[in-house]
């Protein structure tokens, strides 16, 4: 077997195959979850007008200080994604809003500390990371974002969009911070943000770590919120260890979904086995597909009691109030309670179920 090495093709094997880049972390190298915006459990591709800290595509949240300035949607505008991608997250400015010094608008993902502990940020051994992403905007100019710990240590970065309405890939290498506190637990370790407009309170100096409260962009970055109808689309977001951007870490859909479900799990039209501990209610458990980051403290529903029902020995009956979370709910499963206007036999087995097709139960353990 003959193996040659040259400066053009890298390693070339005798079967003609070659390896042009170093073999660093082929799989699960991306610390970002759902960087290709494939998973959208909450909105299933529907457009939303986000409120503060509302989640869009899974793991991606919207930060804002003024309501109703944007709409957001998986594949907003239905443009063709970059080659190799099928989805993106898009936001559209709803008006021409001039930010005040204390305004901020951004897309962000918090990375769990357990998933960045090897970066040793905040120590003398802090690792360099490289951020890469595809972005497309109706605006051109210098845009901004930041990496930090969402509180006291921030690194604002800038990038240039040269052509309007054209996908461009951006790469930013960040030398790890040797000071600051970055959680290595199940709490948020790193917050990655892409600014859509911010005032001076949330702006800083590009390309340098700063000990400061939350900064989302370099001073003077393009304000997407400042132009009515302006669009900002993003996908292929990858944050990896090292000083080189490598190809996007495509993971199997099921694996990516499971990663998302550690933080949010939406069970749509799925029945639950339960029993009746009293004459007017049924209790049951939802086993989470993967252990969640933390025990969920809330249960989301459609808001309509009659979307849910209980089937028992005498037939089916609709709920007369919204199903509610109950105790004990843990990282492994949720305890849920359906209330009905009938007289169950205590101890009777039953099937608790969403009654309409789109009805769901959802649990969040987001950061």
């Amino acid at each position: 077997m003959t193996v040659s090495i040259n400066g053009t093709n890298g390693l070339v094997f005798n079967d003609g195959s070659s390896q042009a880049t170093a073999a660093t972390g082929f799989g699960f190298k991306n610390r970002i979850i759902n960087g290709a915006m494939v998973i959208d459990q909450r909105n299933a591709g529907a457009s939303v007008t986000p409120i503060a800290q509302q989640y869009l595509c899974d793991r991606w949240k919207f930060g804002l200080t003024a309501a109703s300035k944007f709409t957001a949607q998986q594949n907003a505008g239905s443009v063709t994604p970059p080659a190799g991608f099928t989805n993106y997250l898009g936001v559209t400015s709803s008006s021409a809003y001039s930010v005040s010094s204390s305004d901020v608008f951004y897309l962000a993902q918090a990375i769990e500390g357990l998933n960045i502990s090897d970066l040793a940020w905040g120590t003398a051994n802090a690792a360099t990371v490289t951020l890469s992403f595809w972005v497309r905007s109706s605006l051109t100019g210098t845009f901004g974002g930041s990496v930090g710990n969402n509180g006291t240590t921030n690194y604002p970065f800038s990038y240039t969009i040269s052509s309007a309405n054209t996908w461009e890939q951006k790469t930013i290498t960040i030398v790890g911070p040797t000071s600051g506190t970055f959680a290595t637990t199940s709490a948020a370790g790193i917050l990655l943000s892409f600014s859509l407009g911010a005032g001076s309170t949330y702006s800083g100096t590009a390309g340098a770590w700063a000990i400061s409260s939350f900064i989302v962009q370099p001073t003077g970055a393009t304000s997407v919120v400042g132009t009515s109808g302006a669009t900002f689309y993003i996908t292929g977001v990858q944050l990896e260890k090292g000083s080189t951007a490598t190809s996007f870490d495509y993971r199997p859909y099921g694996a990516e979904l499971a990663l998302c479900q550690r933080y949010y799990y939406k069970s749509i039209f799925a029945p639950i086995s339960g029993y009746s501990p009293t004459t007017s209610r049924a209790d049951g458990t939802v086993v989470f597909p993967v252990p969640m980051r933390d025990a969920p403290a809330a249960l989301e529903t459609t808001g309509t009691a009659s979307d849910y029902g209980v089937y028992f020995q005498s037939g089916g009956v609709l709920c007369n109030s919204i199903p509610n979370i109950a105790s004990p709910t843990t990282i492994h499963g949720g305890y849920v309670r359906f209330n009905c206007p009938v007289s169950f036999s205590i101890g009777q087995g039953c099937l608790m179920a969403p009654y309409t097709t789109g009805a769901y139960l959802a649990w969040s353990a987001e950061l």
């Binding site: 403290a297 809330a298 249960l299 989301e300 529903t301 459609t302 808001g303 309509t304 109030s321 919204i322 199903p323 509610n324 979370i325 109950a326 105790s327 709910t329």
Partner: protein, 51 residues
Amino acid sequence: MIYKMLPAVEGEPQIYARIDDDGLCRLTCTEDYQEFKDWLAKGNTPEPADE
């Protein structure tokens, strides 16, 4: 948006219903729910449970 107590169940933590501005309840939570804690921190108080 307000929070309202659900009727207490003996031996279990208090559960709260979030009532949105349109009058619908789309979320129930325990006192550990961060948004609920933030709402309390603003000086709000949950409504008592229905009798």
